[in-house]
């Protein structure tokens, strides 16, 4: 763990009580973000990526949700041990969130200037005039043209991209240490998406904030993230620095995702498609939750739930020139091997029994 570690989620478990039974939305999720770092949390719908963010922010609907285990360490303090009032004081000045749908996140009957200024009035006790002045400053900072003229406009008078800028301005208002952005550009057009991501990256650098970027878009991740946590069925299946992950994914699910997206710069034949569907969280398959869809699945995957294995360069590199059989034998022994140690939070890791062959195959290709 580095001194810079801003947020660390450890073995977080969340359940939802539904009328069909108890859904285990998170099954021991661990990840960490350093100050000034961008962590992308990648996953499909139902993977638990947004639930994790809500748990960190303390805005999880409880009930039906329930945090059944784990801890969320923010600047060394466990947030789960704090009271509601203390959590509220952290939201805003310390951490803030940007949502996908800016229009429904803004109050339609209040002017954007008023909503931006609200942060200063509530948390800093600023006067109305002062708050409006700060609102104009914020709007200028997120590069909204003619900010002073538009400060009294209402949310519907802004375009989608401008509204998302206002959301960013609102999140930035009290200069938090951590920003969680949940699909911030999914609803925007490509050209506007590029503007907004650029802005977010610039501001992050300027304030040295930690950024958790929740997305399903592999392109956005490659463009902005430093590290990636890939989620599947309420678990982290792979955790890696961005370049290493794209160069050689260590989990078959990550590999499948990377292979299944069409590329702008290449015209291929048929796309690789991960077969089957994401699992129903009421009935997560035994063993590795990905095994019914996995091309590498073997008997062990159907019974043994793979823990997060540390993926070390040495182990993977050493096996790179060995024959396929040798690699397979080595991987089969992985559980007894010294390299199968428990990884640090944030260290490159993969929840696949056969991560070594996965990495090696990817390197060879």
């Amino acid at each position: 763990m580095t001194d810079d570690r801003l947020l660390e989620v450890r073995d977080l478990e969340v359940e939802f009580t539904t009328r069909d039974g108890v859904v285990r939305a998170l099954n021991g999720v661990s990840y960490g973000v350093d100050a000034g770092e961008t962590l992308a949390v990648l996953g499909e719908s139902g993977s638990g990526k947004s639930v994790t963010a809500q748990a960190i922010m303390g805005i999880l609907d409880m009930p039906p949700g329930r945090i059944t285990g784990g801890e969320i360490l923010f600047q060394g303090r466990d947030l789960l041990g704090l009271g509601a009032e203390e959590r509220r004081k952290i939201r805003g000045p310390k951490m803030a969130m940007i949502f996908q749908d800016a229009l429904s996140s803004l109050n339609p009957v209040l002017s954007v200037g008023f909503q931006l200024g609200e942060m200063f009035r509530v948390h800093r006790g600023a006067s109305r005039k002062e708050a409006k002045e700060r609102a104009v400053e914020l709007m200028e900072r997120v590069r909204i043209p003619a900010a002073r003229q538009r400060v009294n406009d209402y949310p519907h008078e802004f375009s989608g991209g401008m509204r998302q800028r206002i959301m960013i301005a609102m999140a930035l208002a009290l200069e938090p240490d951590l920003i969680i952005a949940d699909e911030p550009t999914t609803a925007l057009d490509v050209t506007v998406q590029a503007q907004v991501m650029d802005l977010l990256a610039d501001l992050q650098r300027e304030y040295r904030m930690g950024l958790i970027l929740i997305t399903h878009d592999l392109g956005v991740v490659a463009d902005t993230a430093d590290r990636i946590a890939v989620m599947y069925a309420g678990r982290i299946v792979e955790n890696a620095p961005v370049k290493e992950l794209y160069a050689a994914p260590a989990h078959p699910y990550t590999k499948g995702l990377l292979d299944s997206i069409p590329r702008l710069d290449q015209k291929g034949g048929q796309l690789y498609a991960i077969s089957g569907l994401p699992p129903n969280l009421l009935h997560v398959p035994d063993g590795c939750p990905f095994h019914p869809r996995c091309p590498r699945a073997r008997d062990r995957c159907r019974t043994d739930l793979p823990p997060l294995y540390a993926v070390s360069e040495r182990a993977a590199g050493g096996a790179a020139d060995a024959t396929a059989e040798a690699a397979e034998a080595a991987a089969a022994d992985a559980a007894h091997d010294d390299i199968a140690r428990v990884p640090e939070v944030g260290e490159r890791s993969s929840a696949c029994h056969y991560w070594k062959e996965t990495v090696d195959d990817a390197r060879r290709a």
């Binding site: 292979d259 291929g268 498609a273 077969s275 089957g276 129903n280 009935h283 019914p292 091309p295």
Partner: protein, 312 residues
């Protein structure tokens, strides 16, 4: 390039995943329509079960009142006027010396008949007007919606009093017709909104792209998806229409003696403040009326919860 997946592999995996999804409710492979889901929820809702049993009971006695009341509601002995409960006459006697229990039981028939018939009329008229306005839009919508507004502006009770005192006919049909003629705008507005919502769904565009006729789109695609709010509203209105009938009868313009109805009995109980001396003559018909109205309103609430797609 990895091996492209063959069509048979995803099929099996999907089958397994799908079956898992289905096991969660009902048996695997069984078809579950939205209405069967709603029914599944309703059966487990105590509010629905209680109100349904109550309504069932009220309907049964409305159809066969003689099964639980052996006397004739019109057989009265003036000599026993305003007498209290006695063996065989548990609810006592009213001003005319008629058995209150028998009259309360027989009163269900008129009240429920007016309620059911008027509600059917209201629902039918409202759905047709609102549905057509919503479906065709433009000029027809403007015309029908403004007409609805005109009717909506007439207060229901006042309008009913005016019309009923003008026509001076007895029996339940004038009351049913007047309520139906004045009560439909509420349903029409709801039906119009529901049809407009349903119309915007892509499956309506899909049907149109297939070349489906307007009547097919309206009957197969829009109505089944727009009918839920109308049913809910109609159930709740049934309760209020029964109360309205009682109000009109109480005011002397609705049902009149010799028709037996709760409203008529409440009206005669309050004539000359008779109930001060004999509270039972007001209490029992009023209690029966409240119970009946409550049952329908509770049922409407429960049905709304079950049909609300947002909870789904």
């Amino acid at each position: 390039m990895p091996e492209p997946n063959r069509p048979d592999t995803p099929l099996d995996a999907q089958g397994a995943a799908l079956d898992e999804a289905v096991v969660t409710r009902g048996e695997p492979g069984r078809a579950r329509s939205l209405s069967s889901d709603a029914w599944h929820d309703l059966r487990r809702n105590p509010v629905f079960v209680i109100s349904a049993l109550l309504i069932l009971f009220l309907l049964l006695i409305a159809i066969w009142p003689s099964s639980i009341a052996s006397r004739d509601p019109l057989y009265c002995q003036l000599s026993r006027s305003l007498e209290g409960p006695a063996p065989g006459h548990w609810f006592g006697f009213d001003t005319q010396g008629c058995d209150v229990y028998t009259r309360v039981v027989y009163g269900a028939r008129a009240s429920i008949a007016v309620g059911v018939c008027a509600t059917l009329g209201v629902a039918l008229l409202g759905t047709v007007v609102g549905g057509l306005a919503g479906f065709f839009g433009g000029f027809w919508d403007a015309l029908l919606s403004r007409t609805t507004d005109v009717f909506f502006a007439v207060p229901l009770v006042l309008g009913a009093i005016v019309f009923l005192s003008m026509i001076q006919l007895s029996g339940i049909w004038p009351v049913v017709l007047v309520i139906a003629a004045l009560g439909w705008p509420q349903i029409a507005r709801i039906a119009r909104g529901a049809v407009i919502t349903a119309k915007q769904n892509d499956y309506v565009q899909a049907a149109r792209a297939l070349g489906a006729s307007n009547s097919r789109i309206l009957l197969r695609h829009i109505l089944p998806n727009a009918v839920a709010p109308v049913i809910v509203m109609a159930t709740i209105m049934l309760g209020t229409i029964i109360a309205l009938e009682a109000t009109l009868s109480f005011l002397g313009v609705g049902l009149r003696p010799p028709t037996v109805s709760w409203g008529v009995d409440i009206s005669s109980a309050s004539d000359g403040m008779q109930f001060r001396n004999a509270p039972h003559i007001l209490l029992y018909p009023a209690a029966a009326l409240s119970l009946c109205v409550l049952a329908f309103i509770m049922m409407g609430d429960a049905v709304r919860d079950a049909l609300d797609p947002k909870l789904r």
